[in-house]
Amino acid sequence: MTNLEYIVEVRKVKKSFKDVKAVNGVDLQIRPGEFLALLGPNGAGKTTLVEMIEGIQHPDEGEILIDGKKWKSHQQELHHMIGLSLQETRFMDKLTAYETLRLFASFYKLDSSRVNEVFKLIGLGEKKKAFVNNLSGGQRQRLALGVALLNKPKILLLDEPTTGLDPNARREIWNILLDLKKEHNTSLILTSHYMEEAEYLCDRIVIMDQGNILAEGTLEEILTITGGHRSLDDLFISLTGRHLYD
């Protein structure tokens, strides 16, 4: 059992797509049990950074260590350690919510008892038999979160988990995540367009734009260091000249 200070370490990571520098030399560390928000507008590089941490993309330069291990040499082990929810993933329409979780549970060699536990956790028990295409947007996001939680991950990576949801559905997701924080020592990396999501859920906030980290720290630290802005939105406009949701 490793006892590292950081569960995730991103060191001088760069990633380009053709001429676009998506991530431009980023350093980032996350402690066990820490909730971290990656904020930034579309094209800031959040998703690319998260996908590199997830092992889906590979950095052009720099390295990423998860629990002290690299993706290249510990792929299977790291898959078991990470839970994730991608932006806008659509599961199979004609499978029920239960069948979807059973399917993903089988990838982790888990049986129906863990699936039932997860249904309780995400509060979707009454929709077990509903086909995925009959679930609302919020219910689908909770299902995606359920899939991410199946393997009791040490690190949870959620890419815009509440985008497009109404305030109630968003709050339901937040409550599930806060329960996780209370009951398990799960680390969370969350990308979002929403200021209030970061403020409500996360211990630390990282603001990105054009592949670079512009500011990093707790909400109070960021607001103070960057000149006493009243809100993250004000800060973001002063840093980038744009609204966060642009």
Binding site: T89, L95, L103
Partner: protein, 372 residues
């Protein structure tokens, strides 16, 4: 030891199979449509005992507005039954089957309208002392009607049964159009089901980022493809069995050759098109591009591979290419087993080539496969 129902291969196969059978349109296009097509084409092109030929007849310009009868109409008045403006002549022949010739008396302009609509294939311009025949010489139906009409006017209605003793109808099984059609439809079913069922499903899942989500787990990638192919193969087997049972009960289509050879060729055909489907879907995540790629492969084969009509109608130099297309090899192999009594030794080479095509395509597809 992991329970089989918790095994990822079982779960993946079950999930793919559930997706197939829960989609009503898949059941329609995979099961009902081929049976309807077999039924429709089988009925339309299978020779039946009694057939009808419709012929338009009009009086020439010198007689069109007179009550004076012209040559053919004189003949028909004496030798046919008239109802409204149609003269019907029944030509009887026990061996050939009876033919009813219906001569529709109408104006010249309407006669051509009827021809354009396909209601008649032959027009007779009736004159005082003879007739002219207007028809497309390239149409076998029109030529047959012309031969029947000229013989009728020349020799009378009995000409049709006069040489009956010379005719020995074929009683061999497997010589009807429907016997040709059913093996072709079975072969086409494999191609369509694999190319749309496997390729399109993969492209669609890639576009919805589901592939990306799945490979971000400890799932074994080969299990996903193997499960997709297994579910599709199982469904193909069900579809083929239903089509065959329909053809057997309704048209009396029989397998004269070896069942084992048929099963081997069926499996080889599925391997070929499963491999091709993986290759076709290996890169794109755009379903419209995917549509184009799949159509570019299946449509030419559907047209030239002799599913509906013999590819020997194409120029000789193309026939040598066409007969090595995967769909042609399956259709030809099925036909030799169904209609010519072929056994394993007659189809093993085709089965081997199809298996190789499938395996090579699969390996290339897997090599260049884009999971996200």
């Amino acid at each position: 030891m992991i329970k089989i129902t918790n095994h990822q291969l079982f779960r993946l196969t079950a999930a793919h199979f559930a997706e197939i059978i829960r989609e009503p349109s898949v059941i329609f296009w995979g099961v009902v449509f081929p049976i309807l097509m077999a039924w429709g084409l089988g009925i339309a092109f299978t020779q039946k005992a009694g057939i009808q030929a419709k012929i338009a007849i009009f009086k020439d310009v010198y007689h069109q507005n007179t009550s004076e009868n012209t040559k053919a109409i004189n003949f028909l008045t004496a030798n046919s039954v008239k109802k409204d403006s149609t003269y019907s002549v029944l030509l009887k022949n026990d061996k050939l089957g009876d033919v009813k010739l219906n001569f529709i008396e109408t104006s010249a302009s309407n006669a051509y309208t009827l021809l354009k609509k396909g209601s008649v294939s032959l027009i007779i311009e009736d004159k005082k002392d003879g007739v002219n025949y207007h028809f497309d010489p390239a149409s076998t139906e029109a030529k047959a009607a012309y031969n029947l009409a000229t013989n009728l006017f020349l020799k009378g209605p009995l000409f049709y049964s006069s040489n009956e003793s010379e005719i020995i109808p074929l009683t061999l099984q497997g010589t009807r159009y429907v016997d040709f059609l059913i093996p072709g439809l079975l072969a086409m079913g494999i191609m369509m089901a694999c190319c749309w069922g496997i390729s399109y499903t993969i492209i669609d899942r890639r576009s919805k980022k589901l592939l990306r989500r799945m490979v971000a787990t400890p799932m074994k990638k080969s299990n996903l493809l193997f499960a997709l192919i297994t579910a599709r193969f199982t469904m193909n087997l069900v579809e083929a069995l239903l089509l065959f049972v329909f053809a057997w009960i309704y048209f009396g289509v029989k397998i004269q050759g070896n069942w084992l050879a048929l099963i081997v060729l069926f499996i080889a055909g599925n391997i070929a098109f499963s491999g091709i489907s993986i290759l076709l879907s290996s890169r794109t995540s755009n379903t419209e591009v995917g549509n184009g790629i799949i159509n570019a492969v299946v449509t030419p084969m559907m047209v030239v591979s002799g599913v509906f009509f013999s590819y020997h109608n194409f120029p000789d130099w193309t026939v040598n290419l066409i007969k090595y297309l995967p769909l042609t090899m399956i259709a030809d192999g099925f036909r030799t087993i169904f209609n010519e009594g072929a056994g394993f030794m007659d189809v093993w080479q085709a089965a081997l080539v199809l298996t190789l095509v499938g395996t090579v395509s699969f390996l290339i597809g897997l090599k260049i496969f884009k999971w996200y």
